[in-house]
Symmetry: C2
């Protein structure tokens, strides 16, 4: 065991602050990683503030962060996939049971015993729960360590590990591509990645936003059209025309308005997680044989596929790079949607803390 520098919070109402945390020495199957950048996901904030207590209460101290890129510093004796010096990534998962029906089909994210990167019971018992990427290093089973293409900007690569795979996976599985009309609801950390992927897949991409100010940016990111969702006429013009809609909004909103924009057998997939139950009209589903789905990150193999795709197509997240010392201010700005489109923490800043 060794101690790593990190930023943690000690209660739902405390700011994040500098600390040290225990990390295990790499076992035979582990990879030790020097963290270079860590994206800030809204889940970090929800967990730091114990806002998901009904699903998984936060254990304090809490070290968030699951959009990790870094460089391998050391590997265990049995590690075959990675070596010191490699650029790697770690997303929301650091372990799973490897033999449940979900793991067997590369859906580790649905494993009932999945170990999440932070706030998950620590199988190695180095600490009560896992500690995430707001740290200078992390030790992870090699099977959960991804290869990062060498041509990508690392700050913009970090968010691919959560925001990237969260949007890539449902778009890919829905067969989004040439000849398909695809909607992306919400232009934030998730939505802006959805636009980039849908465009790269060759679809006709329409962004729905509540904010007319985002129109130019949506077009720059790759949208063919932008619809201001509060404009009923604009919405009505698209009625029954979408093959697929990716809904990236976590705030309460009227999903039926989007269901009605789907063509027959169209699908709307949620990747945001509104807290309140969604009020869904059965008629919106029946007339058109439409469907409403959820999707959550992706499996490890699919995450590697996404990173490889990003390497081939030079796709990264649009980020604002901050030092770790600005983390609390960044959280407040996330709450105001005041970021284009993801914060990425330059972890070199932790050395001087």
């Amino acid at each position: 065991m060794y101690h790593a520098k990190a930023y943690s919070t000690i209660s739902a109402t405390s700011p994040l602050a500098s600390t040290t945390i225990p990390r295990r020495d790499p076992t035979d199957h582990d990879v030790q990683i020097e963290i270079l950048f860590c994206g800030i996901c809204h889940s970090d904030l929800h967990t730091a503030r114990n806002e998901w207590s009904s699903v998984m209460a936060t254990v304090y101290p809490c070290v968030p962060g699951h959009e990790i890129v870094g460089r391998v510093t050391r590997v265990g004796s049995a590690v075959t996939r990675h070596k010191a010096g490699d650029l790697v990534g770690v997303g929301c998962l650091v372990d799973s049971d490897h033999d449940c029906p979900n793991c067997r089909v590369d859906l580790e994210q649905l494993c009932p015993s999945a170990t999440f990167t932070y706030n998950s019971p620590d199988r190695h018992e180095t600490a009560p729960v896992t500690y995430g990427g707001y740290s200078d290093s992390v030790v992870v089973d090699e099977r959960f360590v991804l290869k990062v293409p060498s041509n990508l900007d690392l700050a913009g690569t970090a968010p691919l590990l959560c925001a990237g795979i969260t949007t890539y996976s449902p778009l890919r599985r829905a067969g989004v591509g040439p000849g398909k009309k695809v909607g992306i609801v919400g232009l934030g950390g998730l939505g802006h990645m959805g636009v980039k992927f849908a465009r790269a897949f060759g679809a006709h991409v329409v962004v729905f936003t509540t904010s007319p100010k985002k129109r130019e940016d949506a077009l720059r990111l790759g949208a063919h059209e932008v619809v201001v969702s509060s404009n009923a006429d604009e919405m009505q013009q698209h009625a029954g025309s979408f093959d697929f809609i990716l809904d990236c909004v976590s705030a309460d909103h009227d999903i039926n308005a989007y269901l009605n924009l789907l063509t027959h057998d169209g699908n709307l997939t949620l990747v945001g997680a509104p807290e309140k139950p969604l009020a869904i009209s059965a008629f919106a589903l029946l007339f058109g044989r439409r469907s409403l789905s959820g999707s959550i990150i992706g499996g490890i193999a699919e995450t590697q596929e996404m990173l490889d795709f990003c390497g081939q197509h030079a796709i990264t997240s649009d980020v604002e790079v901050i030092p770790i010392q600005q983390i609390n201010e960044a959280y407040e700005r996330i709450l105001k949607s005041d970021v284009k489109y993801r914060f990425s923490i330059d972890m070199a800043s932790l050395k001087t803390d």
Copy 2:
């Protein structure tokens, strides 16, 4: 134009009573049918009582009935598919625009200009709206007239035209078959057909019912297992195990409890239409990448496929045959779910009215 005997209602609160209605003389493309049996669908009751006024207000007089079987008495000069003496069926649709994107892919039920069998603007202007199957005859465009296999009991065949296709279509499209675990929620007119089809397709069939008294009947109809949905322990034993669930319940009920029984990428399809919005937990969809769909009857080609399948597998609806004079009593019994499992009106009774 000629006059046919029928049963109609003249207001949302009036009983159905004997009347005569105008029917058009067959055009070149029409088939005139002597109606032998007509099933009673809950939609008949909703429409007769104007309970769907928010979606489509009822125009009075109203002649319900869209589960029609009968014998061809006359055909127009251009009719090629049917001839006098043929056993035929008519379901929920009697026309569509034939060239919208939905019609072009055999989804006439989703045509924005579909003409429903009753209470739909009458393209031929014989009357303000179409009049349904509670009548001694009907005249229908040959393209909306189905062939009825000769080996089936006609009283039990009538409900196939709505309850049958409504359950056949989503089960078929979901790929229900050997190795699949399938749930049927609700054992009524729709649900009992769902059980028969799912079993005939080779799936493992589990019926969910609120009524323990229905256990024996569910097994007789083809279920392998029966779960009393109010029993939380029984429900929990099936958590995460279903590939597909067909929800046949129109009353308000907790759909999340069933979503949580789906395995990863599982689908729950609604064929009932609860009036109130459904309160759906986003988490139930996200964790498991599950989906919730709606399905509404089927296209004409698919309805013929269903009837042919029923002929091959000797599948009909379990019916209680009544004379038309008992229609109002039957409506009251439907409201109490006091029918196993569909009423079928013997239209010979109308001759003596």
